[in-house]
């Protein structure tokens, strides 16, 4: 890690620690972690550092980046340095850049909306032309995209960084307007173009309403709270559970609202279609144990929310289950027949995570998979991030139709791979850098503890020499105090 970068991250760390008024002991702990983290992020191995230093091209090509979130800005920052003679154009409609991971801390009463916003102009790298517009159509056969108000834009190389879209309306009776009304919350709700994070605001209000309502109940007549997870891929896969556990810990009196432990006055149901809390065994074990420790949480697997009646406070689910069929000689087991039936669940409060999908421009063009399990998401190679058909097109971030997580940390790992591979293609070579599927979910298990669930295509992938399945204070402090400055100052500058 070079001295300049080390100094820069040290300054960032000292600045925020001063601001937070941390004890010296805690500050030193975090600084050590921060140094280690930036080292991990910047140069995970000396081999990577060596190739990254070489990943540059003198070619005079035109690179177009579509999207101005974490992926788009990181790609722009990296390519601006890696391709000094290239013309780089970024097309994105958002005036404001939202630090989306902060929305969960907003829901917990620890961040405000202002804490997570910055003008995108402040992040746009020097020497990148920003067309403030939205791409409506991708036309990769003609190396061009069409914008809403600025006509067609041609390219030599394209980076797709559009992110995904929410599909609240897939739930019958649900709309964005209902978030914050009638006991309904949704931490995810935001508007990157307007720069608002209503979901964070609404969910903190929802916490307060729940606290007040629970104080009037007792264990014999508990408040009914539902937290949902949709069946689609989602960004920040752990967030549906983060809200569940933080809400329950708030009821134990551990949030900024304080108060007595009244969590037995509430019954929380976590609903999802899938059969596990987490796809990695050890992380799943931690969460199963956590559920038992809280004592008032019920996991309802097989339940996919399909309809809501906000006035009756009734949630309707497709309940998926398997029925035993004929004996199968080949499998030496009974065949199973997937069945569905409608089940209704009454609630007092509900936290809804919207179904999610690729943006229309990607889904409706040859950029997106037209069939298969990843239909509607970008058809990219799971390792090189290159489009499977159009060799001058790459992707970064949530839009990628590849397995596992859609997280900021994944996008951060996409960055150097994308840089190296795009440079190779610019130089007429084959892309050889491989993404390993890295995903990271800082899963809040209570106020003050996070299980830092890191994993990749091969399984658990901890960055630090600590058992990753153990929830720790150090990850909570890291997430709450350090990740945001690291995001703005290091990630968005292509430095990590």
């Amino acid at each position: 890690m070079d001295k300049k970068m080390m100094k820069q991250s040290q300054e960032v760390i000292e600045e925020l620690l001063k601001r937070e008024g941390m004890s010296r002991r805690d500050a030193l702990k975090l600084m050590g972690l921060g140094g280690a983290a930036t080292m991990m992020g910047a140069a995970p191995s000396s081999a990577r550092a060596a190739t990254e230093a070489m990943a540059s091209s003198d070619k005079k090509a035109k690179i177009v980046i579509v999207g101005g979130g974490a992926g788009g800005i990181m790609a722009a920052a990296r390519m601006r340095k890696a391709a000094p003679n290239a013309e780089i154009v970024l097309i994105a409609p958002n005036d404001i850049h939202l630090y989306q991971p902060g929305q969960v801390f907003m829901a917990a009463g620890l961040y405000t909306e202002d804490d997570i916003r910055k003008p995108n102009a402040d992040l746009m790298p020097e020497g990148v032309k920003w067309i403030k517009d939205e791409v409506k159509t991708f036309d990769p056969d003609n190396n061009s995209v069409e914008t809403a108000n600025n006509g067609k834009v041609g390219y030599d190389f394209l980076i797709v960084a559009t992110g995904l879209q929410y599909d609240y309306e897939r739930i019958k009776g649900m709309s964005r307007d209902l978030v914050g009304q009638k006991g309904i919350a949704s931490v995810y709700l935001n508007d990157p173009v307007k720069g608002t994070a209503k979901g964070g605001v609404a969910t903190w209000e929802w916490f307060k309403q729940i606290r007040a309502a629970a104080e009037k109940r007792d264990p014999g007549n508990p408040l009914q709270i539902i937290c949902t997870q949709p069946s689609t891929p989602i960004k920040c896969g752990g967030a549906p559970q983060k809200i569940l556990y933080l809400c329950d810990d708030m009821l134990r009196g551990n949030s900024p609202l304080g108060g007595k432990d009244i969590h037995d006055n509430a019954h929380l149901t976590f609903t999802k279609k899938g059969k596990k809390l987490f796809g990695i065994k050890s992380y799943n074990q931690t969460l199963l144990k956590l559920t038992v420790d809280y004592g008032n949480i019920e996991d309802a697997f097989g339940y996919d929310l399909v309809e809501i009646d906000p006035d009756k406070k009734m949630a309707t689910y497709d309940y998926h289950y398997l029925e035993k069929g004929e004996w199968d000689e080949d499998l030496e087991e009974f065949e199973v027949i997937p069945m569905v039936k409608k089940v209704k669940m009454k609630y007092d409060f509900i936290h809804i995570v919207p179904p999610m999908k690729g943006v229309d421009a990607v889904a409706n063009s040859p950029i997106g998979w037209q069939k298969g399990t990843a239909k509607g998401w970008m058809a990219a190679d799971r390792y090189t991030l290159q489009h499977i058909k159009y060799k001058n097109v790459f992707g970064i971030g949530d839009i990628l139709g590849i397995p596992l997580g859609k997280t900021g940390g994944s996008a951060r790992h996409h960055g150097p791979i994308l840089q190296e591979n795009l440079v190779a293609v610019m130089e007429g070579k084959e892309p050889t850098a491989k993404f390993d599927g890295y995903t990271v979910c800082p899963l809040k298990t209570e106020y003050g503890k996070i299980m830092l669930a890191e994993f990749n295509y091969d399984g658990p992938a901890p960055s630090f020499p600590l058992d990753p399945s153990q929830p720790r204070w150090i990850w909570w402090a890291f997430d709450l105090y350090m990740l945001k400055p690291m995001y703005w100052n290091l990630m968005m500058r292509g430095l990590m």
Binding site: G279, T373, A379
Partner: protein, 115 residues
């Protein structure tokens, strides 16, 4: 002395052989034993057993489908019966399909477009 050594080596080898057949099947062996009947000897599919073709899918498509079936990420399985089948294989026969290497095997063995 020599006989003891040879006996020891032979014993070790036979232990290895037993271990291999129980847990270390190759993708080809797994496919042949457990997948072929529904997905076809050449991945062409078998309508009678409701097994879709695998020989017309891009390697990334195969990988994504396998990861989805195993619910490795946050997305629910899109084919519950197949997810159940794979769970049974794991539970009853100790067969752990690795999505990365199985996708490679399926693509290069069956897809005519594979190079």
């Amino acid at each position: 002395m020599q006989l003891k050594k040879i006996a020891g080596v032979l014993a070790g080898m036979s232990l290895l052989a037993v271990g291999a057949s129980a847990a270390e099947l190759s993708n080809a062996q797994i496919y042949s034993k457990y997948c072929k009947k529904c997905h076809g000897a050449n991945g062409e599919g078998n309508p009678a057993k409701k097994g879709p073709a695998l020989n017309d899918k891009d390697i990334n498509e195969l990988f994504d489908a396998l990861m989805n079936l195993k619910e490795k990420g946050f997305e629910a399985s899109k084919h519950e019966a197949m997810t159940h089948n794979m769970e049974v294989l794991e539970r009853k026969k100790g067969i752990h399909v690795d999505p990365q290497s199985m996708a490679k095997y399926l693509f290069y063995s069956f897809n005519p477009e594979a190079k």
